[in-house]
């Protein structure tokens, strides 16, 4: 035994391998007949918390346009710098996003964009099945963000108003 190895004192006189083994076998046998915790994923899905922050969704007005007014708050607040916004203005002076892209790979799903949005336009969603065949597929443009239908994040637990 090399010097520097810690030599512990163990209570040899009180330890018993055989009895500990029997105890362990009792435990494993008990677990064998216990209820299983597996979730059968594709058939059975995990229920998400109302505060779950997943991939984004852009809400729309009744006439089908994005609620976004291109104020620029969300790209400013975004800590991961994943939102690309190019503002535009129509002839009546209403601002709207010409380009609105979110790189979901860079996004850290903090939910600041939803929190900061004055128009309640951009939201993080309660959604997790996001697989794609290419990296480019994870850059969601405005059309795609508007086409999402999954429920959106509550940001705080509705049962606990103090959390707001």
């Amino acid at each position: 035994m090399a010097i520097g190895v810690k030599v512990l004192e163990r209570p040899i006189e009180q330890t018993s391998y055989l009895r500990a083994t029997l105890k362990g076998m009792k435990l494993t046998l008990k677990h064998m007949f216990q209820e299983k915790v597996t979730v059968q994923y594709p058939e059975e899905k995990w229920s998400l918390s109302p505060r779950w922050r997943g991939t984004h969704r852009m809400l729309t007005t009744e006439d089908g346009k994005a609620k976004c007014v291109a104020c620029g708050l969300c790209p400013t607040v975004c800590p991961a710098n994943c939102i690309k916004l190019v503002p535009g203005e129509d002839e009546k002076g209403n601002r709207y996003p010409l380009v609105f892209e979110i790189d979901e790979f860079r996004c850290i799903f903090c939910g600041y964009c939803q929190e900061v949005c004055p128009e309640e336009a951009i939201h993080v969603g309660r959604h997790y099945e996001n697989s794609e065949y290419s990296r480019e597929g994870f850059v969601y443009d405005l059309e795609r963000l508007m086409a999402q239908t999954h429920p959106v994040c509550e940001m705080w637990d509705p049962a606990d108003p103090k959390g707001e």
Binding site: M1, E13, M25, V37
Partner: protein
């Protein structure tokens, strides 16, 4: 075209060479089918049992889980076989087969049912009922180590080699304890033929089963069987945390799978041995009906099913232990084999030999219930002694148990002074 099997059978005289050959072939085909399918299903059983013990569900996709072994087999056959450049190819190819064949051969002598008095003469329900059955088993058990050692050596990989070396040391050590543990059984039976061993136990089953008349021998045999089959807690030849996968690190596809088949084959074989030597073999407990004279086909089938159930129980026991106990350290393994099991087995031979001679001297017939009862009483006392006196940090010892007390004190002093220094340095830093 149908072959007139029965007409052919009627045409040969009773107990002729023809009947013997035909029934031997039938037994072999029947047995081999059950054995191989059983082993395949055991891989599934192991995964299911492990899953249940960990609160999971286990494989349930391919045919509700039942076809999982078939899917695994198909996958393993279609995968690429890799041959390491530096491996010694002939032995590399031969090793998986050499691991498996002894497990299969052992079955030749194990009686798996009551004999059947067929219209064509008595059919023994063992492939080759050798009069030296038990010696044959001991010989083959020693051969089992070759597959693993050669796999480890021919892979030309240091981890494989270490795994192979460990397994050879382990299997040789535990074989001695295993062989010694069975001597009381042979003393009771008075013969090495497995049929006689079973005959001895049928009297007042289950009291006359060797598990109750030679309990300590059974416990030693059980522990040694775990070491012989390289199952947890003695799977040091694989020891993935130290040796990657030990002796089968370099194997792939079906050759890799063959080592698993060998492991499960060995499990079934040792379970069958344990049933035969200690649990009355094919005997049905609480009744003598199955051993009485008219040996009908029904009795043969029922005794076979009982034997099957006993094997399944022990196989489950293997899995149960595997998912309960952690792996031993190497020195613990060796200490257990040489310093605990072997002396225990030797002492037990003396005790049992003395007891048998004493009982026979006192005029008790070996077939009487008193004979078994007194032996059972002796064994209960011995088990209690083992559990409450002997098992105090001695069966599985800490790493320092091999050190001289003088060195141990010195090492402890160093540890203590270092921790004191460290504590002072830490305290000073804070101030």
């Amino acid at each position: 075209m149908t072959i007139p099997v029965f007409a052919l059978l009627q045409s040969v005289p009773p107990q002729s060479m023809g009947v013997f050959l035909l029934f031997t072939i039938v037994k072999m085909v029947f047995f081999f089918t059950i054995y191989m399918v059983g082993i395949a299903m055991l891989t599934l059983a192991e995964r299911k049992v492990s899953a249940w013990m960990q609160d999971r569900l286990g494989p349930n996709r391919v045919g509700k889980g039942w076809l999982q072994p078939a899917a695994d087999g198909l996958k393993n056959i279609m995968k690429e076989e890799t041959y390491p450049d530096a491996a010694y190819t002939p032995l590399f190819i031969l090793a998986p087969a050499m691991a498996f064949i002894p497990a299969l051969l052992t079955w030749a002598v194990i009686p798996f049912g009551a004999p059947w008095d067929s219209p064509w003469g008595r059919i023994e329900l063992a492939l080759a009922p050798l009069p030296i059955g038990f010696l044959f088993i001991l010989a083959l058990a020693s051969l089992g180590v070759y597959g693993i050692v050669l796999a480890g050596w021919s892979s030309n990989n240091k981890y494989s080699l270490l795994g192979g070396l460990r397994s050879s040391a382990q299997m040789i050590s535990y074989e001695i304890a295993m062989g010694m543990a069975t001597i009381p059984v042979l003393l009771l039976a008075g013969n090495v033929s497995l049929n006689d061993v079973v005959e001895r136990q049928v009297g007042f089953a289950p009291l006359s089963w060797n598990a109750f008349t030679c309990t300590i021998a059974w416990l030693i045999f059980l522990i040694s069987a775990f070491a012989e089959t390289n199952r947890l807690p003695f799977d040091l030849p694989e020891a993935e945390s130290e040796l990657i996968a030990g002796y089968h690190s370099e194997y792939s596809a079906m050759k890799f799978s063959l080592f698993f088949i060998a492991e499960y084959g060995n499990m079934v074989t040792t379970s069958a041995l344990m049933s035969t030597l200690f649990f009355g073999g094919w005997d049905i407990p609480f009744t003598l009906w199955d051993n009485a004279a008219p040996h009908t086909g029904l009795k043969t089938v029922l005794t076979f099913l009982f034997f099957f159930a006993k094997i399944l129980f022990f196989v489950f026991f293997y899995m149960w232990i595997r998912w309960t106990l952690p792996r031993f350290r190497y020195d613990q393994l060796m200490a257990l084999g040489w310093k605990v099991l072997l002396p225990l087995a030797l002492a037990y031979i003396v005790v049992m030999g003395g007891a048998i001679v004493g009982l026979e001297y006192a005029g008790l017939a070996p077939a009487s219930w008193r004979f078994s009862g007194i032996l059972f009483g002796i064994n209960i006392v011995l088990v209690v002694v083992l559990f409450f006196l002997f098992d105090r940090g001695r069966i599985v010892s800490p790493a320092y148990s091999r050190l001289d007390p003088r060195h141990l004190r010195r090492l402890r002093a160093i540890t203590a002074s270092r921790s004191a220094l460290a504590a002072r340095a830490e305290g000073g830093g804070r101030v």
